[in-house]
Amino acid sequence: MNIVVCIKRVPETADADVSIGKSGKDIDKSGLAFDLNEWDSYAIEEAILLKEKLGGTVTVLSIGGEDSNESLRKCLAMGADDAIRLTDPAFEGSDGFVTAKILAEAIRKIPYDLILTGTQAEDDGYGQVGVVLAALLGIPHAALVNRLGVQDKNVKVHRELEGGVEEVFELDLPAVLTIQTGINEPRYVSIMGIRKVAKKEIKTLGTSDLNLKVEEVGLTGSDIQLEKIFLPPVGEGAEMLEGKPEEIASKVFDILKEKGGLA
């Protein structure tokens, strides 16, 4: 079983004080911590669990600058066999469609039975790349997979729907699955573990290695473009309760009495 996992390194913004960068087209990323995209951490764990059960190899791919090596190494430390970084200045500005195109060209060069991606990236939130990748490779796919089992030449998957209902499908292999959080418990990687793979080679491939033309990638190849970003109105409608913790607590108590029928 040869499994390919596509992963992305993203800034951690949930806890951060986010501000708009100078270009007006992205946030100011200086001072932000980065990590493996949450959905991808479940995808790589699922691949390693399958490998442990069925044998074979796990190859991780990421499009990104040298910083992305950090996330690729994390995957190696978790148990992936190979890591490839797809990088080229021409990739700058690629949308979800072009991202999938670059990944597809890289994957054509390696043997695969199963391809896993995250359901969505925390930063752009397209929820698009995995499914487009399947279309470009001409193989079946299922999105939002929260359970899977490989049987010989096919894979049985549960797709998570609204309200916690699931839809079960069987797909012929090779196939692309986009993985939903909660499917497993991603293993912890120790600093020692990372250190062990610190010297492992991470191959890099660019436009010319991938049979892609410069005009097919980056902004020129993209379908959509980001014009500008802005902070959504915050606190709209919310009355802020301020003061010392005790004062806030009294206000909350009054609200509960009034609105919640607190006895």
Partner: protein, 330 residues
């Protein structure tokens, strides 16, 4: 005349709410574009649904086939490829739902149509569209435009557009032949699996105290549980808390969990991703506690408290316990 096409999403005999939302938005867009609106309905034995859709569009494209009884990206793509190739709509609208996320990106790729996913704003200016999306879990909004020529496809976030009632249209029912054959599929539907039923039903609670990833560790949950007990509330949570197996799935609020409508919803350490908000926006009063003043949850809250939950929750608990005691003894 040009015609926008909207996909009707239904499951197990019922239209999904997102259908009304995108029909409403589609109608407004079609009017501003001087176009008409059509709705595509795929299924088996769905003529009743077609009737309900008629007043909302100029045309209801009905494609019925036994093979369309259950949604499958493969059959949906085949049918919609035929429809879109024939009718050439300048814009196709699909919900950014578990269904839409599963087939819209591949359909657009096969048709070589530019696609913008998960949009919360769509404005038409002639043949061009200006779209609004969110980045970084809803912390930032972005204006997005198409770089290539249409026709275009847009997937729309559930709940992003209100359903605005307008005078009824005299939708014409257009039955189209199904392009599906008995040729085997590479993806086969097997069955539905129902959501697990748990011991508590959070949809029945008057007060919900809901925790998110901000709780940091499972060991911190009892502190919040005590507060919930003190006010007669029930404990609920956001998705990461369930993903980490700290609380069972039946406590999860949101699109892939439960939709709740308590009198009071207290969100503690929850950022307010749209999938979460969708599950609790029907609450009477929302109190949000978050250390980040820019957390999107504050836009969905009635009252906001910018504070470290580990500092404020114990005080809240003590205060409630104390005040209750005073009221009982006095």
């Amino acid at each position: 005349m040009k015609e926008i096409i909207v996909l009707a999403e239904h499951r197990r005999g019922e239209l999904r709410d997102v259908t009304w939302e995108i029909l409403s938005k589609g109608r407004q867009l079609s009017e501003s574009m001087g176009a008409e609106i059509g709705v595509a309905l795929l299924g088996k034995g769905v003529s009743k649904i077609a009737e309900v859709l008629k007043p909302k569009a100029h045309r209801v494209f009905l494609i019925e086939d036994d093979r369309l009884e259950f949604y499958n990206s493969e059959t949906y793509e085949k049918v919609l490829t035929q429809l879109i190739t024939e009718r050439k709509p300048p814009l196709t609208l699909i919900g950014h739902t578990a269904m839409g996320m599963d087939f819209a990106p591949s359909l657009a790729a096969h048709l070589k149509m530019p696609l913008a996913t998960d949009c919360i704003g769509i404005d038409a200016a002639g043949e061009a569209f200006s779209l609004t999306r969110q980045l970084y879990g809803g912390k930032v909004n972005a204006k997005v435009s198409f770089l290539k020529k249409g026709p275009y496809m847009v997937t729309v976030r559930s709940g992003a557009f209100p359903v605005i009632e307008k005078e009824a249209l005299l939708g014409e029912l257009v039955k189209l032949p199904s392009p599906l054959t008995d040729e085997g599929l590479a993806k086969r539907f097997l069955q539905y699996v129902e959501a697990a039923v748990g011991e508590v039903d959070i949809t029945q609670a008057d007060i919900l105290v809901s925790i998110g990833r901000g709780i940091k560790e499972a060991e911190n949950i009892p502190m919040v549980r005590e507060f919930a007990d003190a006010i007669g509330g029930t404990l609920a949570c956001s998705r990461p808390v369930v993903d980490k197996k700290w609380l069972p799935k039946d406590r999860q609020v949101g699109t892939s969990g439960k939709t709740v409508k308590p009198k009071v919803y207290i969100a503690i350490g929850i950022s307010g991703a749209f999938q979460h908000i969708a599950g609790m926006k029907g609450a009477g009063t929302v109190i949000a506690i978050n250390k980040d003043p820019k957390a999107p949850i504050f836009s969905a809250a009635t009252y906001g408290i910018v504070a470290d939950l580990f500092k404020i929750v114990p005080v809240l608990k003590d205060k409630v316990k104390g005040l209750k005691k005073i009221r009982v003894t006095s």
